[in-house]
Symmetry: C2
Subunit: 321 residues, 2 copies
Amino acid sequence: MKRQVLGIDIGGTNLRGAIVTNDGTIAKKKDIPSEAKKGINKLIDNLANFIDQFEKNEPDAIGIGVAGIINKKTGILTQAPNIAKVNNFPIQKKLTQKLKSKIPLILENDSNSAAFGEYLLGAGREANSFVMLTLGTGLGGGIIINGEIWRGEDGMAGEIGHIIVNPDGPKCSCGNSGCLESYVSGEALKRMVKEDPELKKTLKDVPKDDIPQALMKLANDGDQKAITTWNQFGKWLGIGITSLTNLLNIDMAIIGGGISNAWHLFINETESEIQKRGLRGPIERLKVRKSILGDDAGILGVSYLAFKYLESNSTNQNLIL
Amino acid sequence: MKRQVLGIDIGGTNLRGAIVTNDGTIAKKKDIPSEAKKGINKLIDNLANFIDQFEKNEPDAIGIGVAGIINKKTGILTQAPNIAKVNNFPIQKKLTQKLKSKIPLILENDSNSAAFGEYLLGAGREANSFVMLTLGTGLGGGIIINGEIWRGEDGMAGEIGHIIVNPDGPKCSCGNSGCLESYVSGEALKRMVKEDPELKKTLKDVPKDDIPQALMKLANDGDQKAITTWNQFGKWLGIGITSLTNLLNIDMAIIGGGISNAWHLFINETESEIQKRGLRGPIERLKVRKSILGDDAGILGVSYLAFKYLESNSTNQNLIL
């Protein structure tokens, strides 16, 4: 049966959406700023307006990937370091109240969504188990075990960005210090630029959110300081992947998110760190791969979770997690 | 049907075995030194002799928990940092050749065995998912997800001791630096004593392998340096558990192994580190519990894996992984 859903990805920077058909086609792609820094209420307003723009496409369901930790049992967004003012926000309830349309609404962590997308249609098609690291404003994570998202007991699992790689390291957006995210993310790149007088000077006129992109260009143009910064980024990414591989003995680590476009600038250092540090057995199996679906991974993944929901349910509940 | 198996636990220090009945009874408990430091061949000799001592009890199968990483597909012990001279050792083949008895032989990582034991009969009975940390010579780990051991793609998963908590930290037995094991294990305690002039002096006549025990006594007697050392140990344990909880959103972390007897000396620091560092949602659920089965967790767990094997197989193969 042909179905179509609205797939949305809520990031720290943008809201992105598209109509996805269950043959994998993506259409009517749009994006607007999420204004997540202005707080969750502003973001929910933006989101509701954004969803209304797709109303005439008559989707059978809406799938939303959220850059935050959702308790799947209560529908509460407990923590979302890159959205301001989130502290146990009842996203399920609030969003239902806002929306005109009452079609099923499926919420999932954005990186879990991306991982599921890559598993079905992308780099993870041949893997049975993998971790997905989404390099964006923060560092998102998703774990696929035996072909299923491992969501943990409350739907909060997969927070790869918040494994601790250096307890005395930089302050992380979650409140802790030395999380992997504080070394491997857009925010981490901004910090590294700020801490380097030379890079700070070179990039002083670049708007903060464009720094990762500018640093990529700088390194591509041969700037040694920029190249070293990407090497450092790659090293820490390798340290994180080594821990995950030693722990989970997975087939693959998939690297996605906007910053994965700097792949050629960090991957050598990442691979060499894994080889240097990993347990022999687990790293022999491991493949490190770039996301195939790119920016669409999250939207496709959460759309397929919505299809999965529609297939297993004939009733039309208002909101489903 | 009443069955009995021989359950064996191979540690860095001892070989321990017992006859286990499928009502959970343990009998004929024995232990001998493993002499693991003298190399894997010596250990296999000791093991074969040890097994022969139980021959008259006519076990239906033998379950062996090994302190090392076993590739379940090839029967090769790829790495065992606390057994000397292990480098892709074909333990399955070698052990079969040595043994007089040809009953089924089930091999499993010792910490996976302990985790499975705790899941069925111990602290994990009410959990759906948990991590088990076995504090012995090294730091063993096991992961239970939806009531099953997560073995990974080659049977090597669960190496909690080898997540990296400080990349520039002390050299680990696996060759890497700053693994959790290099801060949280018997070997780590020995290093900490060696690095502290005062403790080094106080414990200078204590045989190396007895240092954890002696340090426990010292702290119980009120020695401030010893108390601080246990606090440090507890802190790093908390850092490791925080990473696991953020990553896996599990119900529980179970602490076992000989050194868990120092529970009262480290647990406050562990709990406070988790509270300080963890993501709100996942740590709200987490319970940190001491192993209930203690030293018997591994033997019971691997024995129940043997029962599970016997139930699902009527043929009598020589060796089963």
